[in-house]
Point group: C2
Chain length 600, copies 2
């Protein structure tokens, strides 16, 4: 049977030894976050996930959610009890605004817990995950009254939230949405339309569900400039804050889908439902992007998390399963066969997984720290810089982590041979669950266009220059250490490929925008590879410092150095190939007339 | 709803224009195979698949197979009727031995039909597919009596066959098998043991099932040298050839698995079942490899076939779905949005699929022709050469086609966005079905070791030298044509990477076998990329000849030239990266002690 252990030691290593979290202690928001508190949260959080959430992962996949004739939805056996414990433990409050009942811990702490939660039970974790996205929008764009009404109960987890964007005929192109909002003249609107693919759209976990819905007001432009954001509660909230009358929003059906069966993916029908405008009219897209950016980071973390749990189980299997003999001679003469851990190709899949998950964990925590700095750094300049870099890395984290996370789950399944294909071992669920993360909250192709078309050139390319500067500094400093120099040199070469690819895009993307489109996904992957390479160099520096300062025998730091070498050996070579694909441009990609694709 | 059209024109192009099948007409075995006959088989076969098999693909996935208390198994609704039509149409007889009722058509023809069948319904296609593997073993290793008893009814499809290798504790390492054979002294044996993952192990399609079972005779060595192959019929065959007494072999359960639900994956329990030795005792592994090699090619074709059907549906969707506008300006001013076919990243996924499937189709048909030549070429030398090259390419076709086929299905699903994740659209089934092909009949890691450890060096590396010679000749001749020269130059560069990687393996694999193991999968992929590149150069030459000789306006040949350019632009760059990964060797891959993989 599968198992999961939160990688607490690795999280702590990144926080303390790589990012030196202690040095931020003087910043507002870090006041409550001394090392002991953080360690307690990580350990208790990891335990909660292993003991409460993970045991429901296969049950949730097997049972799925059930819609009843009255439109109500039941979650799988055990989900309600587990969610009650989640609320009781305050696990949704970690990084939230203390004015409304949050613990005000840094984002880096809540990000670490989010990874554990998604590893333990991705479908379950989406209920609080979507809630957090909805809270983010209300926190920034909501009126004081809206904040008072909704945030405390959403932060505690008593109520959950959703994001309602997609309609049957449109997902990526939100300008096409047809859901209408008619002004009641009393500060409320009547919302009518159909939304699809609404995760956590209806369920039995919470006493109210706060839907955030994109719609067009009467008379607004019929394109993206006409979109407004509305709060539509399942139960209209009474003056005293309690859930009141049932609103005109119903779950019409649940999608039958490839994975994340424990989460109800709903068709939501709005029929003159009462809604409340969030922020300014016709500025819904900006408000939506607040939810969306939080959600995109969360989805990136799902990629990491499914890779992590799949990796852990593949390790267990590889250490137990005996098949064949080591190529270098019998490893275990007492047994009729060696464990498959002796086979290089099994190692390849496990080391690939290890190098990706640890690198991605470091990047996710580093990005979360930048979010904290964007809120709390001492100068306006530092805050702006941190904000820019988060903007740049958000599509990379979403796109690269989910592509590699899926691949990692597939490889971990491969370690099991035929048993990986059989349901009871649990591996094929990770593959099916991980697959959605490449699609939702903007497909990875959309992420790549966000990176290349929007983020790269923003403010004169400031964020990328910042990123390059940080790379150069790290490489220069690492080159002065004999143990780190070979790693730094390999990363420098890959960084050169990224720089060349960037130059090519600048020169050729203007002349023909299809060149930018044709190179977008290779560029995103190139940036992902180099970003994780940078994290590996940082981790190697931190580990090397420990090894030479009293911890020479600690296998944890030894493993870091080996995995850093592996990353540079086996991930960086793709940088050159990606650059060359990108430099091939759009010509052969776009030359075939549309009607010549179908088979005759 | 999904659809499938057999790519008959493309098959014909490869057969006639690329491989010039007509020139083999004088060879035995090609006598019945004039162009008209082949075209009729392809067209009727494609129609049969589209009309009879494909409509049952989603039904089969949804219903799966059902085991009843008595151990009998029912296939999904419609499978029995479709199988009867399959038998009636003689679709299993195409390439089979005419002495036993086969049509004796060349393998190249049956291979083409096999692709269509696997595209139309992979789970269904496995019933005759496994039968063909079992026939192959009996045809080569069986006694005359065994051939007379089993082959006619297996070839007609009245009976089906299976391959019983895997046991709960062993798959790859067959030396560990525990199934026992006790001599009855009358030419028969009593077989006892448990086999798992037996595809098509029990079902209601045929009146008898002929199991080919690996077991160890009493007193035989307890390793691979002690393995014998036995025929164990479900019903013992009477003197008159009719199925008689029920044998002691039962389906114990059906595995719940990720995909291919329409095929019954059985645990088979043998309890003093009557079995008959095939070939010599303790030579079971050689007999098994006859089945296995046929099966491995068939599994490679499954990778191609799932990529093909997924591609076709993604094209339909991309031509219908409207979302956003072309980067180069509005393409369709009459609609509120352009079709997603205008977006370079959608094109990227479709062109990737097109370049892979057409290249793989060419390679599979070329390999099938080599099988024909291995049987029928005029000189012993030609026959031996053809046989060697099939041996070399079998692991490449199995491993590379299934890895890329899975990736192609995943990309085609991605074209659908969220709809790709929803069951009813059918795309996620292709992904789940395609996944098994990377695992069964020897995982792709095992294929890579077969290539690097066995095939590469066999007979002094003769097959590889032959392959290199063919590459060089093709490139040299293409360089003389201005239209082909740029393609040839790119392929030459990739060929150089393959050559360098081969040299590195020779020099470093001897010194440390783990270097060979660590480079095996990258090498297999490198060889796959270059092999398909060679096929694309051959196809481009054939298409160019048509374009300059009276068919300048035929979009089919224009499309070939565009796709050839795309292949060279977007697939070949990976060759260099794969070489560099391989040249990194085993050091960082094997350095981590086994007990340091688990998370603390």
């Amino acid at each position: 049977m599968p198992s999961y252990t939160a990688p607490v030691r690795d999280t702590q290593f990144v926080m303390s030894d790589v990012l030196n979290l202690e040095k931020y202690a003087n910043l507002p928001g870090f006041a409550n976050a001394d090392t002991d508190t953080i360690n307690a949260v990580l350990e208790e959080g990891g335990k909660f996930v292993s003991e409460v959430m993970f045991p429901l992962n296969q049950v949730g996949d097997h049972e799925g959610c059930t819609r009843h004739e009255d439109g109500s939805v039941t979650t799988p056996t055990g989900f309600k009890e587990a969610y009650d414990k989640f609320v009781e433990g305050g696990w949704g409050t970690l990084g939230q605004n203390p004015e409304y009942g949050g613990q005000g811990l840094p984002h880096i702490v809540s990000m670490a817990f989010e990874e554990y939660m998604s590893s333990g039970n991705m479908a379950f974790g989406m209920y609080p995950g979507l809630t957090a996205g909805a809270i983010a929008a209300i926190n920034v764009k909501g009126s004081d009254e809206q904040k008072q009404t909704y945030m405390p109960k959403m932060i505690s987890g008593e109520w959950t939230g959703t994001m309602n964007l997609t309609e049957p005929h449109c997902g990526t192109d939100l300008g096409l949405i047809r859901t209408k909002a008619v002004d009641n003249g009393d500060g409320s609107y009547r919302i009518t339309g159909q939304k699809i693919f609404i995760s956590a759209g209806e369920h039995d976990l919470a006493s109210n569900i706060i839907h955030l819905v994109l719609a067009k007001r009467e008379g607004a432009p019929d394109d993206v400039k006409g979109i407004s954001l509305f709060i539509v509660p399942k139960f209209i909230v009474n003056e005293d804050g309690s859930p009141g009358a049932r609103n005109g929003v119903m779950c019409g059906s649940i999608e039958e889908k490839m994975g994340i069966h424990g989460n109800a993916t709903c068709v939501m029908n709005y029929d003159d439902a009462t809604g409340y405008l969030v922020g300014e009219p016709e500025k819904g897209l900006a408000a939506m992007f607040i939810m969306m950016n939080a959600a995109r980071l969360g989805v990136g973390i799902q990629g990491l998390s499914q890779g992590e749990v799949a990796y852990q189980n593949a390790v267990t299997y590889a250490n137990e399963r005996r098949q064949g003999r080591a190529l270098t001679g019998v490893a275990d003469p007492d047994a009729k066969a060696d464990t498959i851990m002796v086979h290089p190709d099994v190692r390849r899949m496990l080391m690939d997984a290890r190098a990706f998950t640890e690198g991605a964990r470091a990047l996710s925590l580093w990005a979360a720290l930048q979010i904290d700095l964007a809120h709390s750094a001492q100068t306006e300049e530092e805050r702006a810089e941190a904000d820019e870099i988060v903007g740049l890395l958000t599509p990379v984290i979403k796109g690269y982590f989910t592509d590699k996370g899926f691949e990692t789950a597939v490889n971990a399944q491969q370690v099991y041979g035929g048993h990986g294909y059989v349901t009871e071992w649990g591996m094929e669920q990770y593959v099916r669950d991980a697959r959605i993360a490449q699609i939702y909250e903007g497909t990875n192709g959309v992420q790549a266009m966000d990176l290349v078309g929007r983020k790269l050139g923003r403010n004169g390319g400031k964020a990328l220059m910042q990123f390059a500067q940080m790379m150069n500094d790290e490489i220069a400093s690492a080159k002065e250490d004999e143990a780190l120099k070979p790693l730094a040199e390999k990363l420098e070469k890959a960084g050169g490929e990224l720089q060349a690819a960037t130059m090519w895009l600048m020169q050729n993307g203007m002349a023909n925008p299809n060149n930018a489109g044709a190179g977008a996904v290779p560029y995103l992957h190139l940036m992902g590879i180099v970003s994780l390479g940078l994290m590996w160099l940082k981790m190697a520096r931190a580990a090397q410092a420990k090894l030479t300062n009293g911890s020479a025998d600690d296998p944890f730091y030894q493993a870091k150095m080996i995995t850093a070498r592996y990353y540079m050996d086996r991930y960086l070579p793709d940088a050159g190939a990606l650059r060359r694909k990108l430099e091939a441009g759009a010509e052969s990609m776009m030359a075939l007339p549309e009607d010549m694709f179908a088979r005759a």
